[in-house]
């Protein structure tokens, strides 16, 4: 009940703008009306029915709508833009900017997602079973710190790329795999938990919030100071078990050093020299 299925009519080659595919845009519409919604295939203005076989019956309100995309939409852009409730499930790869500016509801991607997952997200849940690329939960270029994700939860079961949580203000991002460099760059609040390794430059210029690395990291930025050792930490909705070195920083972003960078002790023996700064 309330389910609408979308099946790509052909293999997309060029980018497909899917900003109208959301429970909010589908609710209380007939399949025909949904088919009339605008989409773009590259520079061609299209209707959703040009690009997808659409079946089902959406609910009357967004929270009563589940959209299931059967197939690969790795060329998609802005799927679920601004949605406030309801569900989207993609049985394959989703494209870029999944859940742009999302305010509620849930998006589940069974495959991989591209760049800017949950860009400027305000609330809701995004779960990626595969990998995500760069700038998860991030702000847009030129925006000042704090314009990224401000609420909600992003769960990535695979790996994520560079600049996870860039400019983040609130909410949680949890990555089961590894992350690229610059996780938490420009963040002012929120939590990021990484179960795997980090390529480096973690917590760069953070003013607040927490970054937790359970795996290894090659070097800690010298704008961080070691403060203490901690056994575990909650990154909602999960709990991470250390023990962790806790670094405060980033002194170059804010001398008050309200940001916290937690790094696994066991997986980072090369960081032992820092222990001499602990009383």
């Amino acid at each position: 009940m309330g389910e609408v299925t979308l099946k790509p009519k052909f293999t997309f080659h060029v980018p497909v703008e899917m900003f109208n595919v959301s429970p909010d845009m589908f609710s209380a519409k007939t399949v025909k009306e949904i088919g009339e919604l605008k989409a773009y295939e590259g520079n061609r203005e299209k209707k959703l029915s040009d690009l997808f076989d659409i079946e089902g019956e959406p609910g009357g309100k967004p929270e009563e709508v589940t959209i299931i995309v059967k197939g690969d939409i790795s060329k998609a852009r802005r799927l679920g833009k601004g949605m406030t409730a309801g569900k989207i499930v993609v049985e394959g790869n989703a494209g870029h900017m999944v859940g742009y500016g999302m305010r509620g509801g849930m998006i589940t991607i069974h495959g991989n997602a591209g760049l800017w997952v949950g860009c400027k997200m305000k609330d809701g849940v995004i779960e990626i079973f595969g990998n995500a690329e760069d700038n998860v939960g991030g702000s847009l270029r030129g925006e000042k710190p704090g314009k990224g994700m401000s609420g909600g939860v992003i769960l990535i079961h695979g790996n994520a790329g560079a600049e996870v949580g860039r400019g983040m203000k609130g909410g949680s991002i949890i990555v089961d795999g590894d992350v690229g460099p610059l996780v938490g760059v420009d963040m002012v609040g929120g939590n990021i938990g990484v179960k795997g390794n980090c390529e480096g430059k973690a917590g760069a210029r953070m003013k607040g919030g927490r970054v937790v690395i359970c795996g290894s990291i090659p070097e800690i930025l010298s704008s961080f100071y070691i403060e203490e050792v901690r056994e575990s930490i909650k990154v909602k909705p999960e709990k991470f078990t250390g023990p962790f070195y806790v670094f405060i920083g980033d002194a170059l972003a804010d001398i008050k050093c309200n940001g916290r960078l937690l790094v696994s002790i066991n997986n980072n023996p090369h960081l032992k020299p820092y222990e001499k700064f602990l009383e």
Partner: protein
């Protein structure tokens, strides 16, 4: 097998030979090369000058191993080009800039041969045409002008230095001699007719067939109009006037317009977008700077006259020469330029960000806990910071060493912030070492016409910009584009192979005076004239100073300028879209 860190970049020989001819033996000998430290070669039993296979997670290539004092144990160097692109990391980390430096690689001796240029891309979807240059003869000179002309203040058309003091002697419509140019500029001016294209062509049944200009224009217009997401890429060797037309064309066909800064100083734009940029024109630096830093760049090879004309060695109004300046060089290896350093800092590949962070901390008088950062001992960092703060006027020049390594745009952001921080103490500026001739000008044109300087997506009818998404590198690597117009550049030689593979799957139009690797897989080829040799045009130097490149010889018969060809394509597209 021991893992090395692979760096790619410019060399003087690669640059010079590129101008002499991309399909020449000289170019292959200078670009299909892997520079290694003597100790590393000995450990692996590799003879100097023998072939080796370099392997990374992204591909493999056979090149010639040579001993070089400009590298360091653990680091290998392959000059930029199609051979390097077989093994570089296409991942741009969402920045548009693939990772062309700092790639883990293995090296082993091999008996395999080095591939010729076009053979490198012969395994992809479209077979590259093999060009028989012996069959191509120039159609004779257009000009009936005889006699000798001595042109002064000629604007060079090779690199971002845009030296405007060249003296060129033209006799019987041919350039006979060049004074004041560097080796590469001279090579360009004396060899520009090599490997030249003289007639428009269309690819039919795997062969390139000569056609009339009208037919080629019609084919180009059709390709672009039929495309749902075309890219219009290159631009950096042509004039601002041509670039303006390029933006108009991209807007008309709803495509992505982008220039070579995407693989050069695009990350500098990304850094500027976050924090701004504090800079000055080259004359200001020459006149006043008593401290010069070269970070991640090798001007002696990539911008050969830079140190003499604008920076380290130059005679300024207040600062009279090298003796009154201090030079700091930061690099992952002892580059040829590093020999002029008063202080040489060898930084670990991919850790420039960490080093800049430490410098910024020290300059603000914060303590740093680590004894070594980015492979640099703390004392040396303190020493460098001291030199920076006590300069009267410092200038930081930087290049691909910062833009191409991990961190990308964030590296530049930090370098700019370092300079901004230093302005609390003294006068300091930063300037990117722009590579390609008019890359700065074409960035500027795109910025004033669309609001963004590169990677502009006009597919929805208005400008959108988001490198990673709208960058032509990533677009090609993902296979998002369904047509390409390539002008004044050679992406098949300079993009990672994953991008080239997808380029061979789509219709390609090439507008260029010479044969390039991209031409070998093109569907439409339209030859044009050289800006700065045969055609006038406005170009910008690396510091944004606008100069007028001039025509000093006439182009061959039937060869038009980029501007004229673009105007014809635009007219054809407008006719098809809006009616006569």
């Amino acid at each position: 097998m021991s893992t090395f860190t692979l760096i790619t970049g410019r060399t003087l020989e690669q640059g010079r030979n590129l101008e002499i001819g991309k399909f020449s033996k000289g170019y292959l000998n200078s670009a299909a090369v892997c520079e290694m430290a003597k100790e590393d070669m000995e450990k692996l039993g590799i003879k100097d000058g023998s072939n080796v296979k370099v392997k990374t997670a992204y591909g493999e290539v056979v090149v010639k191993a040579v001993t070089s004092a400009s590298t360091t144990p653990g680091i290998i160097f392959i000059p930029m080009g199609a051979w390097a692109n077989m093994v570089v990391n296409p991942n741009s980390q969402g920045s548009g800039m693939p990772t062309l430096k700092g790639i883990p690689a293995t090296v082993e001796p091999t008996s395999e041969q080095i591939s010729a240029l076009e053979d490198l891309i012969s395994m992809f979807h479209k077979k590259p045409i093999k060009i028989d240059f012996s069959q191509i003869s120039p159609p004779g000179s257009t000009s009936t002008a005889s006699g000798e002309y001595n042109f002064k203040d000629v604007v060079c058309c090779f690199c971002g230095c845009v030296c405007d003091d060249l003296e060129v002697v033209v006799k019987d419509s041919t350039i006979k001699s060049v004074k004041n140019a560097c080796a590469i500029g001279m090579a360009k001016l004396l060899n520009y007719n090599n490997e030249r294209v003289y007639k428009p062509m269309i690819r039919k049944n795997g062969k390139l067939v000569e056609v009339s200009l009208e037919e080629a224009i019609e084919a180009a217009a059709n390709i672009l109009i039929n495309a749902k997401y075309p890219i219009l890429y290159g631009w950096s060797s042509t004039s601002n006037e041509a670039m303006r037309l390029g933006v108009r064309l991209a807007e008309l066909v709803g495509g992505v317009v982008d220039n070579t800064s995407v693989i050069c100083h695009g990350p500098t734009v990304l850094g500027t977008q976050q924090v701004g940029v504090v800079t000055a024109t080259l004359g200001q630096i020459r006149n006043r700077a008593d401290l010069i830093i070269f970070w991640g760049c090798n001007p002696l090879h990539a911008h050969p006259r830079h140190t003499v004309r604008y920076s380290a060695m130059a005679k300024g109004w207040f600062i009279k020469g090298r003796k009154e300046r201090k030079i700091i060089i930061v690099d992952v290896r002892p580059s040829p330029t590093s020999r002029m350093a008063d202080l040489f800092i060898q930084v670990k590949p991919g850790r420039d960000y960490e080093l800049i962070t430490a410098l910024r901390m020290v300059i603000k008088d914060h303590t740093i806990e680590a004894e070594e950062v980015a492979g640099v001992p703390r004392d040396k960092i303190l020493q460098m910071a001291d030199m920076l703060r006590s300069a009267k006027f410092g200038a930081l020049f930087f290049g691909m060493g910062l833009t191409m390594t991990i961190g990308k745009g964030r590296n530049i952001e930090e370098a700019i912030k370092l300079v901004q921080d230093l302005n609390e103490w003294t006068k300091f500026v930063i300037l990117p070492m722009r590579g390609h001739f008019n890359v700065a000008g074409t960035n500027a044109v795109m910025a004033w016409l669309t609001g963004f300087p590169y990677a502009i997506d006009l597919s929805l009818g208005y400008p959108r910009h988001n490198p990673g998404l709208t960058s032509s590198t990533d677009i090609l690597i993902r296979g998002d584009a369904d047509a390409a117009l390539i002008i004044a550049s050679d992406p098949a030689s300079h993009f990672p192979q994953q991008a080239i593979e997808n380029l061979t799957r789509i219709p390609v139009i090439v507008i260029d005076p010479r044969w390039s690797l991209t031409s070998t897989i093109a569907d439409v080829i339209i030859p044009t004239a050289f800006v700065g040799i045969e055609v006038n045009g406005v170009v910008y130097r690396m510091d944004g100073v606008p100069l007028k490149a001039k025509s000093i010889v006439k182009p061959p018969p039937g060869i038009l300028s980029d501007e004229e060809v673009l105007k014809m394509i635009i007219k054809k597209v407008e006719e098809k879209k809006f009616g006569g």
